[in-house]
Symmetry: C2
Subunit: 438 residues, 2 copies
């Protein structure tokens, strides 16, 4: 049990001092410090230290490859970063299955990002909207120093709109601003623009001669991008003839398989607690690509899950169709990803991930990530309705359990052989290792 002392002025300490300070709370401080340092980079540590604050080391996640993803007729060997075993294997298995069946198709439906100035104003909506034409040039002028470069790249602010929200909160209005951020995720760009726009709006209300009190008073509550972007949308899908599922499972005909698959997807729509788990499998894949490429997976998660419940009930993000013997399975999801700016070129491994993908633009990265998400979900549902999820998962997790028992190379090989035909669980493996050693 730790009873830490307060660490005053922590952020001002050097990294060595920080390490030493926190090590006061562990059993073997010197060993702790040595181990944490073993995860530092010889040349590039400064970059990692500056990415976040109060850093004492780096956290390592396995960097894997899901090879042979055929997406819109291009082959990608997709970098995936994830701590959960079997996710990369599942994506790879799915990629392999679909490779010979036309691969993944993907299209970007829209790329609109939005942010809002939220304000409380004691006036009428009709009195507000008639000033839009006057305000727009001011908004544009005051954000020019930020939008200039983005416009050169084909992006910028695309629209302004006042929204009446007084049915929700008294005197509550929004100024919705739409953005095109091209290949950048755009969070800093959008937020910087919105903060300038908020100032223009505040000054306008103070100084507008047409207004009397109380209409002169406007309280800007906040100005901030929205992580929910239903109009920044991508769709990936796979399709093939029913006959392709004949050998999916030795106990199931192709029709039986499709019937069970369809039921599994319907259930994800019928029961939110299954929907959440169903969609979690999608994010396993998408987040792994997001982390590998330096993108913000919390933004991606918030976006997708909010989209999943937009009609009042949390549902599956995938859609099943079976028509004229053609199986079609698709994923439609809002995705905000960047391939320039942020960490994408700063993080040495994010840069390498993008290089492995052929330095795609943001639209292509959206398509890749969505396809991997669909692949992971397809693989999970396929396993669930056939041999169960644990069979494949535990096969992959076996190595972790063996490492936990610090097996020798000999024990390792013997165990791998044994568990090719025996059920894997933490207990069964532990017992087997104990038997082996006694």
């Amino acid at each position: 049990m730790v009873t830490n002392k307060i660490a005053a002025g922590f952020s001002k300490l050097t990294k060595e001092e920080k390490l030493k300070l926190v090590s006061r709370n562990v059993r073997k401080p010197e060993e702790f410090i040595m181990e944490m340092k073993s995860f530092w980079h010889k040349e590039k540590q400064k970059i990692f230290d500056d990415i976040s604050e109060n850093t004492i080391s780096n956290y390592w996640l396995p960097f894997g490859i899901a090879p042979n993803f055929l997406i819109n007729n291009n082959i990608y060997h997709v970098p995936m970063v994830i701590e959960e075993s079997s996710v990369v294997a599942a994506a790879s298995g799915s990629a392999k299955f679909w490779f010979s069946r036309g691969g993944f198709n993907s299209r970007v439906i829209s790329t609109k990002k939005t942010g809002k100035v939220h304000f409380i104003w004691e006036g009428k909506f009709n009195n507000l909207i008639r000033y839009m034409d006057k305000l727009k040039p001011a908004f544009r002028e005051k954000t020019r120093h930020i939008t200039r470069n983005m416009e050169k790249r084909g992006g910028g602010i695309t629209d302004f709109e006042f929204v009446d929200m007084t049915h929700e909160i008294d005197n509550y209005y929004q100024l919705n601003v739409s953005f095109e951020t091209v290949d950048s995720m755009g969070a800093n760009f959008i937020n910087s623009c919105l903060e300038e726009i908020a100032l223009v709006l505040r000054d306008f209300f103070c100084s507008c001669q047409d207004f009397e009190l109380p209409e002169r008073n406007c309280s800007i509550i906040m100005a901030i991008l929205s992580n929910y972007t239903p109009d920044c949308l991508v769709e990936s899908w796979v399709e093939c003839e029913i006959g392709q599922f004949n050998k999916m499972d030795k106990n199931l005909t192709a029709h039986d398989f499709i019937w069970k698959f369809e039921n599994a997807v319907q259930i994800a729509n019928a029961d939110p607690s299954r929907g959440a788990t169903h969609n979690k499998g999608i994010f396993n894949g998408i987040d792994a690509v997001a982390i590998a490429t330096g993108n913000d997976f919390r933004a991606i998660e918030a976006n997708g899950h909010t989209y999943a419940c937009m009609n009042g009930k949390y549902k599956s993000l995938t859609e099943f169709k079976f028509d004229k013997d053609i199986f079609r399975y698709s994923l439609k999801i809002p995705l905000v990803m960047g391939t320039v700016g942020g960490l994408t070129s700063l993080h040495p491994l994010a840069r390498r991930s993008l290089e492995l993908l052929g330095n795609p633009d943001a639209r292509k990265l959206m398509q890749i990530a969505a396809s991997v998400g669909l692949a992971n979900n397809f693989s999970a549902v396929k396993s669930l309705v056939t041999k169960g999820i644990q069979f494949g998962h535990m096969k992959m997790h076996l190595l972790n359990i063996l490492n936990y028992h610090q097996v020798s190379e000999n024990e390792r090989q013997t165990a791998i052989e044994h568990f090719k035909t025996h059920k894997i669980s933490f207990n069964s493996v532990s017992e087997y290792i104990n038997r082996l050693r006694s």
Copy 2:
């Protein structure tokens, strides 16, 4: 642009061969291989390779510390792993503010986890539930080999219940199984149990003499844990007297601040697109603790976001109260986290993170993570309603921009000094560096 060749038998290749194969698609293969190898660990690489599949290297994320979190009267220096700048600084700032105001309070409300066997059965619900008493002993017996160890630790299967879902899908029923997994996240345990239970159920329908066709037919669609666990719930909160906010912002009285803060939280409830962003700030903190401690953040995200929309509209996970001059701000969130099993003891850095936290049990880790989530959200809302989010964020992001421009130590110090009093944006920093160099 890459046109990859298909990489047949990829998973069978050695790590060196995999690296070589994917390097065919980059501009400077040798440099690529060398850089990827520079991220390998000298002694512990095998552990990382076995965590996931097809690994070629490790992906590094900064490992930071948010010091001085006072939670239920204990001080924690919390390990956080996140790629987004300013998240650790925001958590630290919040921890500091609340340290002298009573700190964070937290309580675990419940720890029930669930999983379901989903099945299609052409029979009546009343004919089903009367067999529960007969089935329970069989469920328990057939899972004994899995539950034995869990029961020793105080957990196990706590309940079985049939659920009629025929209002959603014809002939669709669920067997809901409840679990207590004590200090483990429990995913493998729950899924392994459910798959055994599904077999018992299937055999029961086939062999039960009371049933005639079609009641003998039961199709098990799937058996799987639920990532949505509304009864595995934790609450964290802070509270203080209004006077404590007097110096929060030089332009706002304490009352003004609280009024704006309240509006910001109400807006997150009124507009799902703000709700998603509001909650995203919570997950910034929680996920950073989850990754640091080897927990599954996709499961955490799916859980929390599904909970946020359970009443038909996506809402804030935090709650604001102001009563008798007392400000109270709380977060209630379902959280599934483990401190044993999974990667927690296997991943060297996850183990170290838990050590830094005093090797907490799962309940304590839930409390810590929820408090950090609340801290990050509090910090974000506080910034939004005062000086704006960009001020602090860009201050932290400045170092990244400077690294992007590969500044010298001299340029770095000059720039940091300059931007103490100037607005930071990617453009303004780039221009400043160019001026400095010309």
